[in-house]
Amino acid sequence: MQSIETDVLVIGGGATGTGCARDLAMRGIRCILVEKGDLTHGTTGRYHGLLHSGGRYVTKDPQSATECAHENVILRRIMPHCLEDTSGFFVTTPWDDPDYADLFYTNCQKTQVPVQEISVAEMLRREPVLNPQISRVFEVADGAADAFLATHSTALAAREYGADIRTYHNVIDLVRIGDRVVGAVVEDLRSGEQKEIRCAYILNAAGAWAGKIAGLAGLTVTVVPGKGTMVAMNHRMINTVVNRCKLPDDGDIIVPIRTVAVIGTTDVHVPDPDVYGIDAEEIQFMLDEGEKLIPGFKQYRALRAWAGVRPLYKDVDAVSDRDIPRTYKLLDHAERDGVEGILSIVGGKWTTYRLMAQESVDAIAKRLGNTNPCRTAEEILPVPATEYGGRKPTAAVANGAVGSSAPSAPRPTGLFWLGKPLADVERKHSYGDLICECELVTRERVVAAIEADSAANLDDIRRDVRMGMGPCQGGFCTYRAVALWAEIPSRRANADSLAQSSALLRQWLQERWKGSTPVLWGDQLRQLRLDEIIYYDTLGIDLLEERGENDTAGPGMVTEHPAIATEYHKA
């Protein structure tokens, strides 16, 4: 077995893990990050995309509220290209306790969450589709976050500083000698090869899976996987994040993100973060709640439903999962369990990922005798090649570049705005190169995503460039992307690439189908029938599989490996 040596092994390729890798690398600490799927494969890639103002937690979880408010300002500075400044409303509807509004306002002040009350008339002027029966409106600094792009940018920054980030590497064991964890055995899911990674410290940033990882070292970490279901609607019927002004509950928030609006979420305890399903009742409930904020909500077209599992850490008795604090906790297993060499960072939320990384890396740096300060709040993140097409950065893209000491990737020029992808297409005159018309993804961006070594299947490309996330849910772009995939020179020579391209198509169609079925009716069902016309009638996808290929396997491609397949079934 190959053995690799490093200072810190970070486990988990979500926001927190990549944030840790970046922080470690910036401080000059050698690190390897392993993720069993693609980056953002876990909860980071399945959340509603809210940049929290903190308002949601001012009453139940004031520490989280203050952390969110603080980090909100930092993230706007370091990753503007991943954030849209939507602003946010907390609104009191006829179904909400009117007394909570004043308490909310007071608690915002107490927790340093910037807030101002605005008139209902002003709210309706800015968001005319909101329920006119809303009685009070508070404006906060909510925003929309592209968690895929943010994580890829963070990983790119980490790599620029020398971090070694490995996707599709599944931790199958932790090596414990006496009271010390000294490394891990990982399996490269693409090749099946096992490797041993020896390290001074393991940083367990596996989120909802942190309990499973800790268990490999004989440690008990109780993470309550709290399933949250979300529905993406085809219209951005509002341009402002809208929250119900009440204690956090199911279906009480709508986030406009990119071309869609996402309503969320439910909170259902699930026994295993890999085994959960979406119930029809959950969807119905959220549509009903959506009606309260936006009359006629149900008439809009629902595109897709998905669920993520919150990594809630349970160290107190909570009445329900919603009562478990949203704040994070760094578990030092030496103090807690008498086991050296491993720390677990658990709980928390996307908005506070940087702070969680900072605190985790502070603890490790101290032990390693590294006194370099944390600079993750100051340095601006780079823009990945998948955003602009992977060629040498043009002057226009690189404009405004800062911190150009070592990095070669361009730096962002400002906050994301809804018209930006179209402006990019217009600037480059690339109308004829749109592979995904719904999300305005050009050929060069798809090729950049395919060429990125992490793209093992079409879902990885989706996470890189948002291909197939719009109304047609991949109807047109799937064939195009698979064809481009097969045309990449390095793959064309590979005899297996062909069998893979068919398998890629089938796997992707099934994945999109899985996400669509909970919300398939009306125009979206009709859209799916068009997909059947394209893939069955026009292309004959079912006739290719009669050659007896199997759906999985093939070097370099991971589709339905049991370690990363999320098993949906009726909860």
Partner: protein
């Protein structure tokens, strides 16, 4: 007051209108938009399941094996007559179809799969997988709905020698975006054909057949293909692309001209909102218009609005399934949990797509108790319950045959 209104302008409505025009009626075709002609590849698939006996025999067996299938409403003679009428129509328009009901032909798709079909435009015939000769598949980088290397690679894997190449575009006046229709118009320009033909000759190598995206002209594909054959020195065949379907547009145009010439009329862009009846006769339908509803009255009606894809069957979040134009009772799975199979590629497809109107032997719509709802209405095409025409590969065949019969039956009254 019109004599007959056909609701829907897909193949079923068009074939029904043709039958009515030939029976001396003045058919009025009223549709929200173009039918699935513009989405489908332009071949006439009659029955696609692998069957040594061929599509005619397979359809004949449905009468006993699947009595609820709409094909069971037709005799073999009726199916044959409808398709013969169709072939005569397109042949007269200079766009002949070849093939037969005795056996399916396998044609390459843009993915390189081999799909079975009974009748195909002559412009596609040289793609027949049984024919000898290596294949060159050629396309354009500018056309995002057709990728030759992938198609060729998949054909090779099935033992058919094929190569995929991209052709250069001539310097073209400012043009940034190319669709299938843009290319179809380019192929109608002699200079563009010469530019393509010369490249094909240079790239041909040992290929005796050349597959191109099905964009070889909107109106004169037969002569475009003939010219490219001369220029390239190889047999040319078209391969259907992603929508919009140029071969489907050709079919629509041929039908439109024939029906109009026979005294029929078209009104596209009008969504039927509701209907009024007197007893067991439908009297009036109303369409959406800018300022007010538009009223249409007729003695007879042919409903050919399609299924879920065509827009004739509509579903909602509460699990309701509705026939959109006339509000007819539907045969549909009960409740959303019954709509879908667990996997997208489930062999028998998804039950919701078999939802449609139940009819009697005379194609009159029935209610849940099998009573005729309207005696002056017939139903054709994918609005009929019981078929999953995409999975069964019978979309066009079913539409033409049932549309023809639905028109004939009204014309007899």
């Amino acid at each position: 007051m019109r004599d007959t209104i056909i609701i829907g302008a897909g193949l079923a409505g068009l074939m029904g209108a043709l039958a009515l025009a030939e029976a001396g009626r003045k058919p009025f075709v009223l549709a929200k938009g173009h039918g699935t002609t513009h989405w489908m590849g332009g071949t006439i698939d009659v029955w696609g399941a692998p069957d040594e006996a061929g599509p005619r025999a397979a359809v004949a067996r449905l009468a006993t094996e699947q009595p609820d299938h709409p094909y069971a409403l037709l005799s073999t003679a009726e199916l044959t007559a409808a398709l013969e009428r169709f072939r005569a129509l397109v042949a007269a328009a200079g766009y002949p179809y070849v093939g037969s009901l005795d056996h399916n032909v396998l044609l390459p798709t843009a993915l390189g799969a081999l799909r079975p079909t009974a009748l195909m435009p002559a412009t596609m015939a040289a793609g027949d997988a049984r024919l000898p000769g290596p294949i060159l598949i050629a396309g354009f980088h500018e056309l995002r709905d057709f990728f030759p290397p992938l198609a060729a690679a998949n054909l090779n894997a099935q033992g058919i020698a094929a190569r995929g190449v991209y052709l250069d575009m001539p310097p073209i006046e400012r043009k940034l975006d190319f669709s299938t229709v843009t290319f179809a118009r380019l192929f109608e320009q002699p200079a563009f054909r010469v530019h393509v033909g010369r490249q094909l000759r240079a790239l041909r190598g040992d290929a005796t057949r050349i597959g191109l995206p099905a964009v070889l002209g909107l109106h004169n594909a037969t002569s475009v293909v003939a010219e490219l054959q001369t220029l390239s020195g190889a047999q040319i065949f078209e391969i259907p692309t992603l929508p919009t379907s140029v071969p489907g547009m050709r079919l629509f145009t041929i039908f439109e001209r024939a029906i109009t010439a026979a005294g029929g009329r078209f009104q596209i862009g009008s969504l039927v909102l509701r209907a009024e009846s007197a007893g067991e006769r439908l009297t009036t339908i109303y369409t959406e218009a800018a300022a007010r509803e538009q009223r249409h009255q007729a003695a007879d009606f042919l409903l050919a609005t399609g299924g879920v894809a065509g827009g004739g069957v509509r579903t909602d979040h509460a699990g309701a399934v509705r026939e959109t134009a006339l509000g007819l009772p539907l045969r549909a799975p009960n409740g959303r949990e019954q709509w879908f199979a667990p996997r997208f590629r489930a062999e028998d497809g998804h039950p919701i797509f078999r939802a449609g109107v139940g009819v009697n032997a005379n194609l009159r719509p029935l209610d849940a108790a099998d009573r005729v709802v309207y005696h002056n209405v017939t139903v054709g095409g994918n609005a009929l319950a019981g078929a999953d025409a995409i999975r069964e590969r019978c979309y066009a065949g079913l539409a033409l045959a049932t549309g023809w019969k639905a028109g004939k039956l009204l014309g007899l009254v």
